[in-house]
């Protein structure tokens, strides 16, 4: 496991990569997203696990994104995602709609190394009609006709998330955000930004091991203090609602979004801006 500089870590993402991002309530790698903008990445294919928020909207606004597969893009109480909405209307980004449990199921199929998994529901939704990669079969275990959706495994090229701690073996502590283990297991390459480093092995401590993702899945880490800001990080720091409202307001126009980038992304380290 290599410890890298945040911008070097972001620079390692190839243009066009299929990148899985957790939503705004689950250790979003916001500082990493800003570093991707600074690195000028292009044609990224984002995967919202299962939905998308600030980081995705920022990357779309900055022109880094070709497509986003997700069950929803929103800034929560701050409203619709302005860059996503504008880029979609302008035909600059493609959205591949899903429904939340389908995103989880497709990633779990990749986690288990099976080519597909079934999911109940969904039949009758227009999502299904627009997903030629999803199939409906007759449940082989039912006595009579019982249509059920099969979803293909979804293996991201890269999964990125923020964690509280990393140890020298590359184990990272995500606390109760255990769902991040699934994208770590499913992806080909896993990049983790961390709030801080620790010397002790996280898996050797019975109190910390339950919230730890093994370094077996982690390819590289980088330090990023306040790495989820403006989003909350467990009990470490809270949600910066004022900043999110400022983002939502500025991002409503191209000019405003450019001003946001200048102020918070391109010139200043994000953590300094957060003070």
């Amino acid at each position: 496991m290599a410890l890298e500089n945040l911008d070097a870590l972001a620079a390692s993402v190839p243009d066009g990569a299929l990148v899985a991002l957790p939503p705004d309530n689950s250790l979003t790698p916001a500082a990493f997203a800003r570093a991707l903008v600074r690195a000028g990445k292009r044609e990224l294919r984002l995967v919202g696990v299962p939905v998308s928020g600030y980081a995705t909207d920022l990357l779309i606004g900055a022109g880094c994104v070709a497509s986003v597969q997700t069950s929803g893009v929103s800034l929560g109480e701050a409203g619709f995602a302005p860059c996503f909405t504008r880029a979609l209307a302008a035909g600059l980004v493609k959205v591949i709609d899903a429904t939340c449990p389908a995103m989880h199921t497709m990633l779990q199929a990749a986690e288990k190394g099976v080519p597909f998994m079934p999911l109940r529901g969904v039949i009758g939704s227009d999502i299904l009609a627009h997903r030629p990669d999803w199939k409906v079969i007759d449940n082989p275990f039912a006595a009579s006709g019982d249509p059920i959706v099969l979803l293909p495994a979804l293996q991201p090229d890269i999964a990125v998330f923020h964690a509280v701690m990393a140890d020298p073996d590359g184990n990272v502590w995500v606390g109760k955000r255990r769902e991040l283990a699934t994208i770590a297991h499913a992806a080909r390459r896993v990049l983790v930004t961390v709030e801080r480093l620790t010397d002790r092995n996280l898996l050797d401590d019975d109190r910390l091991a339950p919230g730890t993702i093994s370094g077996a899945y982690v390819d590289a880490t980088a330090l990023a203090e306040r790495g989820t800001w403006p989003i909350a990080l467990l009990d470490e720091y809270g949600f910066d609602a004022a900043h999110m409202a400022e983002y939502a307001k500025l991002a409503r126009s191209e000019d405003g979004f450019r001003a946001y980038l200048e102020r918070y992304v391109l010139t200043l380290p994000a953590q300094a801006a957060a003070e």
Partner: protein, 252 residues
Amino acid sequence: MIALEERMAAAIAALILDPAAPPVRHIAVGAASPIPAAACWLVKKGGHPVRLSLLHKHTGNPFTEGTRELFDLTGQGRIDLFFLGGGQIDGQANINLIGTGDWPGSKVRFPGSFGSAFMYLMTPRTILFREEHSPRVFVPRVDIVSAPGVSPPGVFRRGTAQGLVTGRCVFRFDPARARFTLASVHPGETAENVRASTGFDYDEPADVPATPDPTDQQLALLRGPVCDEMLETYPDFCARVWQRRASDERAA
């Protein structure tokens, strides 16, 4: 002065506690649903034993496997009631969270379907809610179906909409006929008003009752302990409806 959000929360609470409906043990509330969240807290703080899973509660969130745990819980049959809104809702209770115009929302794009395509079929009871009651929202037929109101025989489905609570009225839904019936209109509204504001057809009794006002006890609960529970998750909502801010009450 009773806020519309308070009326809607009380109307939803009445549907939750409808003695004719199956008992509710575990209710889940999705993202961006402050009015249903207030209704659930109102039920719970009113002394009814019910387990609430509020997905977007930052602290004290009951899940350790993220939103997947909510969908798995629902798959297991453990969630009795869920709430769904809609950018469009039609008379067959189809909901559209994707957008208007052609796929995937060529006129107006909404955020997306979230879990609706699963939850609507897998939950025994769904209460639909939408504050804006206009022909723009309540349409004859949704442009895009995020989740269908009813399903053909043979499609596995545990339940449908129980009702629809809007800024003007309460509808009940009959899945056998795939049709709404006006159940009550909020004070200040009339059956004619509702008809004019609704793009879909529905049934209407000869006499349409008024939606009861929240009781004084309910208002006290909403403004006190319910707001206390919601401050962290829905700060803007609490500020708007109850003029309370978490930041006024504790250091940030």
